[in-house]
Structures are given as structure tokens and as C-alpha cells.
């Protein structure tokens, strides 16, 4: 198992050396970074903590990183961790009152939904520094590409492999901890969990922070890779639901589910873009909506979950 994982990582790391087409590398990077966000979401989603607001954490992290670079000249190598930390702080600020006041289930989902939108609206409103709806680009620095984290396809491929492996490793580690069982217990019966000494709020906070952190990391790295930030694609309902879609489609109860879901989402996105282009605005959300219903009805444990059951 561990050997297979290391072999797979080695193959993934070696792939760019074989002169693969740029487009393939692009899809791979986009998939892996999106997989990090989806895996992060599923870390809490699988314990019944459904968030429709992970876009908030991505938006905060990505814009913090880019603004620090453009206005203070701070390298994204520091700006990114700072942004992720700020995203996690926002998650803590949002989640703590919810958990203390026992805002659970649908109500929790609604609160998070609002959070994502608030961040999007804030980015748009602060257009003087963020560029508003038109988005912004990190200042290009061709002479100092490494310090500016403007690495090109190869560099980002390796960075994405690293971060993706880190997300999966974290998942694997959580799965083996007492927290995984405690969180399952909490998701089934919060009072009974508390009665046997489980620190309900603490466990929920911990998983929420980890989850938000990975979403922020994957999302912000994606922005840095594309060198373009836009409030619609980094905060708000759109991106938040896209993450949920990926996790649900792939299967949020399996370690590789969200990754498969991310690959599925990227493939779907590309297909729709190539086949419809701008001819049918709104085609993508429609297809997503229909597919989401179909997945919930027929593959509630996602693509990977379906394979696991058949085995």
C-alpha cells in the first residue's frame, strides 16, 4: 500500500519529463489543485458538516496572497501560507459560534453559503485595490520567476503533486486517528457523543480548520498558477458549489473520491467549453445541476464509492 503510493507519486513526478503536451500538463495541474480543494471539503463533508461556503476561504487566501505580492512585494511563498492562515481564521470565526450555538445540518449550510457570498461581494466592493469584477493579475516578474512563484507548467506540476499528496496523507492520517471515530459519533448523535466525553466543539473546529485550509491552499495555488484572480471564480456560490459537486460526484467517503470527482469536473468543464463555447450561456450550470441530482439519486457515494461497493 505505502510502496504503491510512493511508486505512483514517482510516476506522477516524472511525467512532465517525457515531453507531454502543454495542454495535458495544464489539465493535470488544474485537476490536482482542484482535487486538493475537493478533498479538503470532503474531510468535513463526510462527517455531516456540509459547507456551501468554502469559496470564502479560497477567496480570502488567493486575494491575500496576490495583494501582498502586488502592493507589498511579499513573495507568494510567504503570502500563500499567510493567506491560507487568514482563510482558516475566517473559518474559525464562522464555525465557532455555529458549533457553540449548535447550528447544524441545513442551517449550518445556509450560514456558510452566506459567508461565501460576503467574501465575493467584499472583493467586488473593494475594486480600487482588488480590481473588482474585472479581476486582477499578479505583477509579472520574469527576472525573478522562482521568488514570484511564477513557475510555468513543470514547476506547478510538481508543486501540485506535492500539495495533492499532502492532502491525501492528511486524510489518511485523520482516518486512523480517534478524531475520525469521534466525528462519526458526533454526526450520528451529538448528545450521546458528548456524554462519553467527546469534546464536540473542539473536534468539529479541528476538522473545519483543516478542511478550510486545504480548500484555501488548492484554490489559491490555482489562482497563482493561472495568474488571474476573479471574484466569481474564487469566492461566492459558484466556486463553493463546484467544490461540493466534485466531492459528491467522486464520492466523499473515499480517500480518492474527491480527486476522481475533480478530474470528472475538469473533464466536464473542458467538454462543455469546447462543444458549446459561448453559444449557450448557462449550459454549464444546467448540466451541473442535472448531474448533481442524478448523482444524489443513483450514486450517493459517488463514482469511487460505487466501484468500492461492486468490488
Amino acid at each position: 500500500m505505502i510502496r504503491a503510493a510512493i511508486a505512483l507519486l514517482a510516476v506522477l513526478a516524472a511525467l512532465p519529463l517525457f515531453g507531454l503536451p502543454e495542454y495535458f500538463l495544464h489539465l493535470g495541474i488544474a485537476t490536482m489543485l482542484s482535487a486538493v480543494a475537493c478533498t479538503g471539503w470532503a474531510m468535513m463533508g463526510r462527517f455531516g458538516l456540509v459547507s456551501f461556503g468554502h469559496g470564502a476561504f479560497i477567496g480570502i487566501a488567493a486575494y491575500t496572497m496576490a495583494l501582498l505580492w502586488n502592493y507589498a512585494g511579499l513573495t507568494p511563498w510567504i503570502g500563500l501560507p499567510a493567506g491560507v492562515a487568514l482563510g482558516m481564521a475566517a473559518a474559525a470565526l464562522l464555525a465557532y459560534p455555529c458549533f457553540r450555538l449548535r447550528v447544524v445540518g441545513h442551517y449550518f449550510a445556509l450560514v456558510t453559503l452566506a459567508a461565501g457570498e460576503i467574501v465575493r461581494i467584499l472583493i467586488v466592493a473593494l475594486r480600487n485595490i482588488t480590481g473588482g469584477s474585472l479581476g486582477m493579475t499578479p505583477r509579472l516578474s520574469p527576472d525573478n520567476a522562482l521568488a514570484a512563484m511564477q513557475l510555468g507548467k513543470h514547476g506547478f506540476w510538481w508543486l501540485a503533486v506535492l500539495v495533492w499528496a499532502f492532502a491525501l496523507l492528511t486524510w489518511w492520517w485523520i482516518d486512523r486517528s480517534m478524531s475520525a471515530r469521534a466525528l462519526t459519533a458526533i454526526s450520528e448523535d451529538e448528545d450521546a457523543a458528548a456524554s462519553i466525553g467527546i469534546r464536540v466543539t473542539r473536534e468539529k473546529m479541528m476538522i473545519t480548520l483543516i478542511s478550510a485550509g486545504f480548500a484555501a491552499l488548492g484554490g489559491a495555488l490555482g489562482a497563482q498558477y493561472r495568474l488571474y484572480l476573479n471574484p466569481e471564480s474564487l469566492a461566492g456560490i459558484g466556486i463553493s458549489l463546484q467544490i461540493v459537486f466534485g466531492a459528491l460526484a467522486g464520492g466523499m467517503y473515499s480517500m480518492l473520491g474527491p480527486t476522481v470527482g475533480a478530474a470528472f469536473t475538469i473533464a466536464l468543464e473542458e467538454t462543455l467549453r469546447v462543444s458549446f463555447g459561448t453559444a449557450f450561456i448557462g449550459a454549464a450550470p444546467l448540466v451541473y445541476g442535472v448531474l448533481l441530482v442524478l448523482f444524489i439519486l443513483f450514486l450517493p457515494r459517488g463514482i469511487v464509492g460505487w466501484f468500492e461497493r461492486r468490488r
Binding site: M178, A182, T184, A194, S195, I196, G197, I198
Partner: protein
């Protein structure tokens, strides 16, 4: 851990404006088995919720050994030795029996002794060992009650609080559950048991309190209560 005395004095508690307990006092010494009996709505479950920290009393003191229960967060109480088997068992139905026992040993002190505690529980409930990989929610009511008691025992408690262990079980199973309670107390564990099934519970406890409409209306040894004409006519269907 050596025993500790549970003592409640002048406890008033309730939900919102509704007061469920009026100046209730109660004492359980180490090694004792004590019952709280009374009709539906007498405040029995409320009393247990106060002891396990799930409900804060409005007045009065509740102590376990040197710990002030009312001032301690609920999740800390298993750590000082209070284990609560809640009404209707409240298992985690989608976890296996073994996983239920594992979360029962969530507190750090219990995690270290997990293997030993699991062996103890499996020894006491061989049925649970047979069904260790089964989802807890798919077992019979009696097996689930065993699992709930087993889960509580995983934390090496000093006092076991049992809320209506006979609720919803067939008479034969009720007898089995009470036989188990008797065995647990024979091993020296302090037990506080709340029950509507007065006749059964008086056979396994040393003393009992009779609770009615939030007041302690009688207390005494099991034998004395069982032969008290008032108790007999009120609860035991005697004449």
C-alpha cells in the same frame, strides 16, 4: 481509581420556565447500588442529566468526590469517572460494535487502557464479541443495551448511571439486563439506576429514592420500600 461519593443537595433544575426538580437530595456511597424510581415525568431523567453534566442545576450542589459537577464541563465528567448510559441507549447505529466501544474509550486515560478494557467488556458480554463487526443499529434491543453499557464501561468509570435500561425491551430481556447490572455491581462498581420498572429494580439495588413530580417522596432500603404499603399500592400493583 478509588471510589468517590456522589452527593446532591437541594437540587432545582428544569427546562426554561418548567421546573422538573424541587430541592432534590441524594447520596450514593462507593460500592453502593442505588435506584431512583417513580412514574413517568417524575424528573428521573432530569436528575441523571444533572449528574452527568448535560443539564446545569438552577440551585443546589452536586458533587462527585471533590469535584463540583455543576461547575465542570460535561465532557470532563467521564474523565473523573462518571459514565452515563442514556435513555434509549443512544448508540451510534452506523458504527460497528467495536467502533462504538472505541469511541467509548475516547478520553485519554481510557485510550491508554483500551486493550484491557475491551477484554473486560467482551468478557462480560460475550455476545458483543461475537458481533463486534456488526453495525450497532442492526442488533436487537437487548444487545444494543449491552453495547451501550459496554461503551460506558470502556472509560473505566467509578460510577455508572443507567437511565431506564429496561425501556422498550421484552420481559425476558429485561431480566437479562438486570442480571448484568447485578454482575456489574458485584464487581464493586457504584451504580445509580433510574427505572420505572420498580419491582425489578428493587431486587438489584441496596437503596432507592422514590421521586414524584420532582420531589423525593420516600427513600429507604429496597426491602423496606418493597414492603411499604404506600409504595406497593402506588407502583407495585399490590393491595
Amino acid at each position: 481509581m478509588e471510589g468517590a461519593t456522589l452527593s446532591l443537595e437541594g437540587i432545582r433544575a428544569g427546562y426554561g420556565d418548567f421546573q422538573a426538580l424541587f430541592d432534590v437530595g441524594l447520596k450514593v456511597s462507593p460500592g453502593e447500588a442505588v435506584g431512583v424510581v417513580g412514574p413517568n415525568g417524575a424528573g428521573k431523567t432530569t436528575l441523571l442529566r444533572v449528574i452527568s453534566g448535560m443539564l446545569r442545576p438552577k440551585a443546589g450542589t452536586a458533587r462527585f468526590g471533590s469535584t463540583d459537577i455543576a461547575a465542570t464541563p460535561a465532557h470532563m465528567l467521564p474523565g473523573i469517572g462518571i459514565a452515563h448510559v442514556p435513555e434509549n441507549r443512544r448508540l451510534f447505529p452506523h458504527l460497528t460494535v467495536e467502533e462504538n466501544l472505541k469511541v467509548g474509550a475516547y478520553i485519554p486515560a481510557a485510550r491508554r487502557r483500551y486493550a484491557e478494557r475491551e477484554a473486560y467488556v467482551f468478557d462480560m458480554f460475550p455476545r458483543l464479541k461475537e458481533r463486534r463487526h456488526q453495525l450497532a443499529g442492526t442488533m436487537s434491543g437487548g444487545e444494543q443495551q449491552m453495547c451501550a453499557i459496554g461503551r460506558a464501561l470502556m472509560s473505566s468509570p467509578r460510577i455508572l448511571l443507567l437511565d431506564e435500561p429496561s425501556a422498550g425491551l421484552a420481559p425476558l430481556v429485561v431480566a437479562q439486563v438486570f442480571a448484568l447490572v447485578q454482575r456489574i455491581r458485584a464487581e464493586g462498581l457504584t451504580v445509580l439506576i433510574v427505572e420505572q420498572n420498580v419491582a425489578q429494580v428493587l431486587r438489584v439495588v441496596d437503596r432507592a429514592y422514590v421521586l414524584d413530580a420532582g420531589h423525593v417522596v420516600a427513600e429507604g432500603s429496597s426491602a423496606a420500600l418493597a414492603s411499604d404499603p404506600k409504595i406497593r399500592s402506588a407502583f407495585l400493583g399490590g393491595h
